[in-house]
Symmetry: C2
Subunit: 317 residues, 2 copies
Amino acid sequence: MKYYIGIDIGGMSVKAGVVGDNGEIISQGSCQTFTDKHYSVMVADTYKLCEKILKEANLTKEDVSAVGIGCPGTIWSDKGIITYANNLHFDKVPLVAEFKKYWDTKVVIENDANCAALGEYAFGSGKGSKDCIFITLGTGVGSGIILDGKIYSGKRGAGGEAGHMVIKLDGEKCTCGRRGCWEVYASATALIRDTKTAMAKHPESLMHKIAESYGKISAKTSFEAAKQGDKLAVSLIKRYVKYVSAGVVNLINIFRPDVVMIGGGVSNEGQYFIDMIQKYVNKYHYGGRINPKVKIVRATLINNAGIIGAASLVMNI
Amino acid sequence: MKYYIGIDIGGMSVKAGVVGDNGEIISQGSCQTFTDKHYSVMVADTYKLCEKILKEANLTKEDVSAVGIGCPGTIWSDKGIITYANNLHFDKVPLVAEFKKYWDTKVVIENDANCAALGEYAFGSGKGSKDCIFITLGTGVGSGIILDGKIYSGKRGAGGEAGHMVIKLDGEKCTCGRRGCWEVYASATALIRDTKTAMAKHPESLMHKIAESYGKISAKTSFEAAKQGDKLAVSLIKRYVKYVSAGVVNLINIFRPDVVMIGGGVSNEGQYFIDMIQKYVNKYHYGGRINPKVKIVRATLINNAGIIGAASLVMNI
């Protein structure tokens, strides 16, 4: 049995876990992220967290084969540098070098969506495939591309940004500077924005009651109302599914992977949501008459994707 | 010195060339394609063509290391099968097996845009890069993706169809069944369509005179009028460049390659056209402040891309 540590850096907290070579988490923990402090503070805290979870697993540093780290933003993996991560206020941070001051072992860092994609490929919904694409529908639209079992992220890790593929030229403004990016239509944020707009125009919609019972308008509001037959919500969801699927079909026509895995908050809507995407994909993918269909599946590692994904980064290297 | 044969199958003719290992064409020839006859006729003619060009090069079959074939359509390269090529009326054609009846040597078949991409990577505008993308702007919009020096074409070669990436949801109808594909806006066909529409509305435009002098409306009409200061043509070209560039930026954000190579008929407009795409790309690619710019170049193999590309398919295998 080999052991790895997977570290998942986020804007609120750093999570870490000791992971076995079958992808099982043996022990795990977390510590707070202080985005207003120097990155060296976070690295020191993260190292202490590693010591803690190793102790809980009755293991020592010598038992660990390697450490994998996932982090949001543009990661130049070959150099171990976080090029840019706006939410963490990181700008050219040599994270691997800083971590090695405490623990001089094999350490690899990658973008968190890429880690999640690799984790799903190795131990989740992408198991057994060769080429697969992971899409996360949350605050934004993230993507991770696995080709022949390896993360593809382009020059200096700046690729894999499918969320910033324009699907509606001259459409809504995106934070990246373009108009009409996939993210502006297919993220949970976009669905909530469109839900609010629709609700404001239609005070009779069931969505008002549902939002009230939950105390807020969320990505769930329209899905739940649609399931209960609210016509406005049904049309909202239909349009949202079209937005999501349009980008998925684009990626299928470009990559023709074995499988597309859908994760992120909205994927909690489950098979109902996945089935709608699959239906659209089957209808519109290029050469539908001759080419085999591409399977759309729900990502399965859910909350553990970050830790397992980061650990899978350093397995078999 | 090693020798290869590169065969470029087209709707009008089959071209073939003896190619040396530096990508130089030693002898070449062509024969007619009869799309109304059985594919075995074309293969027999192609084999005769190979004999002819070998003789002209003072070589024999024994001097040839391998044969590479490029063909339009969906090609399942691993199986040597043309899955589907509508213009050639080919449906599940076992082309490699048929060719081997005449000449039992190493034979590899690939999609022609993929071959051109590989040729440009090995001997043309992509030389020295690692990941590069080739776009051809002609009747349609074709694409070839080279990752780490190898063609990426997805499952059963059905990927690499970036022309069928939607950039304008619910836009103009595409032959593939979707609406708003890149091809419907960025192909030469699309530019000619838009030129005709604009000319019909503006009889005073210089484009009428230019079209008359050439005897037809072509992709050149608007480019030439724009260079001569015709305002309508300037706005047409500006919009066309935006269409082309929007798709290029999408591919850059997904792949972040070293270089994007532009080929096909419209690329004959030269550096003037390439510079406009580069300007748009520099402005809109994701993370422009932190990520290095991606170079846009004109494809350089031009008319020889088919033969050299097909030959490069079988070098170093």
